[in-house]
Symmetry: C2
Subunit: 300 residues, 2 copies
């Protein structure tokens, strides 16, 4: 080969050095590793997203990737791929237990994997709930935070129940507080919305226990409880009594208590509920008698 020139000597006593940073290097590196992934180049792991369904007809959607990139993007994969798990040996990771019955939408999964490679993603009102679910699962904190900010901007009366559910599910505390506040101030409208009747028991219970919900009359809360249970009596029937106990029956008029509440099948079938109705009616009667005698004394 050619001869080497001697080592260059600087002018000073100390070694002269300069730090160089290639500004576009990391972005370009990420972009190119993402291209490799799409072409299946140098991939050493397969992510298989399937429904958590117990049925035999399991849908599965597969994505090739690089262990090195996934583990660099999030700590979720490091133990899974680096250790002695079966996933590490087989190079296949099964992703189960998703909120959607058939597992997450493949297009959304692809965009979240792309985010892990490039740090870039497009979040929309259509995909934000699944992006959030994936970001939460994969410990992508920045992305999760962004989804929270995105939802905060999109928060409206029409979606506050859905947004609150998401915020609650993924512990986005600030967003949950803001959505809850909107729900409280508009509870009479919220219970006219179908979304409310898709809520799980624990959230319906929390709302009925909330001292600050605003409604025109206690009657509408009774109707909401009945409607919520009737959406799926088989699953929700067992919660009826607990929810019914949260109603402030003394604030409901005796005529409504005796003609509507008492005759509702869910109440009629439940001893404890019937007793609560009787107690409330009795209370009304006694208060009424006291008022009358006070009235008589006044006019006497």
């Amino acid at each position: 080969g050619s001869s080497t020139p001697s080592v260059l000597v600087g002018d000073g006593d100390t070694e002269e050095a300069e730090d160089f940073t290639s500004s576009s290097h990391c972005t370009e590196l990420s972009r190119r590793q993402n291209e490799q992934r799409k072409q299946g180049l140098f991939c050493d792991v397969t992510l298989a997203f399937s429904s958590g369904a117990a049925t035999g007809n399991v849908q599965s959607c597969e994505f090739s990737a690089h262990r090195s990139v996934l583990a660099a993007a999030t700590d979720y994969f490091t133990p899974l791929l680096g250790g002695q798990f079966s996933e590490s040996l087989s190079g296949r990771v099964e992703m189960k237990e998703w909120s959607a019955e058939l597992g997450p939408d493949p297009e959304t999964v692809e965009s979240v994997i792309q985010y892990m490679y490039t740090g870039e993603i497009r979040v929309s009102t259509c995909n934000v709930h699944e992006v959030l679910e994936l970001a939460d699962r994969f410990l992508l904190l920045h992305l999760k935070e962004f989804c929270g900010e995105f939802l905060k901007k999109k928060l409206s009366l029409a979606n506050c129940v859905a947004v609150h559910s998401l915020a609650h599910m993924y512990t986005l505390d600030q967003l949950a507080l803001r959505a809850a506040d909107m729900i409280r101030r508009n509870f009479h409208k919220v219970i006219q919305d179908e979304e409310f009747y898709t809520l799980p028991f624990h959230l319906v219970r929390d709302w009925l226990s909330d001292a600050e919900i605003t409604v025109d009359a206690e009657e509408v809360l009774f109707e909401a409880v009945v409607k919520w249970v009737q959406r799926n009596t088989e699953q929700r029937g067992r919660y009826f009594e607990e929810l019914f106990r949260l109603l402030r029956l003394p604030q409901i008029k005796p005529t409504y208590l005796t003609r509507v509440v008492k005759n509702e099948a869910l109440v009629a079938a439940n001893e404890a509920c019937l007793r609560l109705v009787s107690d409330a009616v009795e209370g009304h009667a006694i208060r009424c008698e006291n008022l009358k005698s006070a009235d008589l004394e006044f006019w006497s």
Copy 2:
């Protein structure tokens, strides 16, 4: 699992979307992949740097890395690692033919590999020649350019020959021009420097052919040629005649030609060189005679 909230609906007709870029993502990804490399996590290729020596005692220095990152950092590795080369199958790439007899300094190799991962490197007067050699080999254009800029700033009379050699070797044209200019303007000093005598034949020939080199007298060029050959007579002896022919002998005084040049062993051993000396001496004699007769005519 938990129930899914319904898809969120935007306020407008069109889907509302927002692009998110996690600003630190790519830098962080690169930093963590580099950490994995140092720990040997998920590595799938070994780079073995060895001397190109034909001796049995081959030194080898090995580095683990990720194919995906190397191929993303430079096109040098893509065909080597992605195709059906033996390197691709074995996961081992031999790096031979280096300017230094024992191969490049391991610390410098490590810093260039780190540059491929992170885009960051410290270049010093001590390592710049090897960084440049590695950057050139691995097609790291930005790094090569930076080395050129670094050397341009460090260019001085003390190192211009070494810098010119590097610039010439790695086709850093701008730097080569600037160093060449400094060499031309200071050629009488340059040939007092040991560095000049380490140059390969083709560069020494180029300099002696250069019409713009500045020296006090042609004699010093003769001495430089002799000194250059004597540094390694066995290898360089065969070039003596070609270099000697580049000297402008008519500009050397007759006394020096007859007493020094003619008696130099390298000249004495070479018929063609001796003839050139004789021709030059003859030329002097004839010119002298003409001058004398002109002189006589003048005074007559």
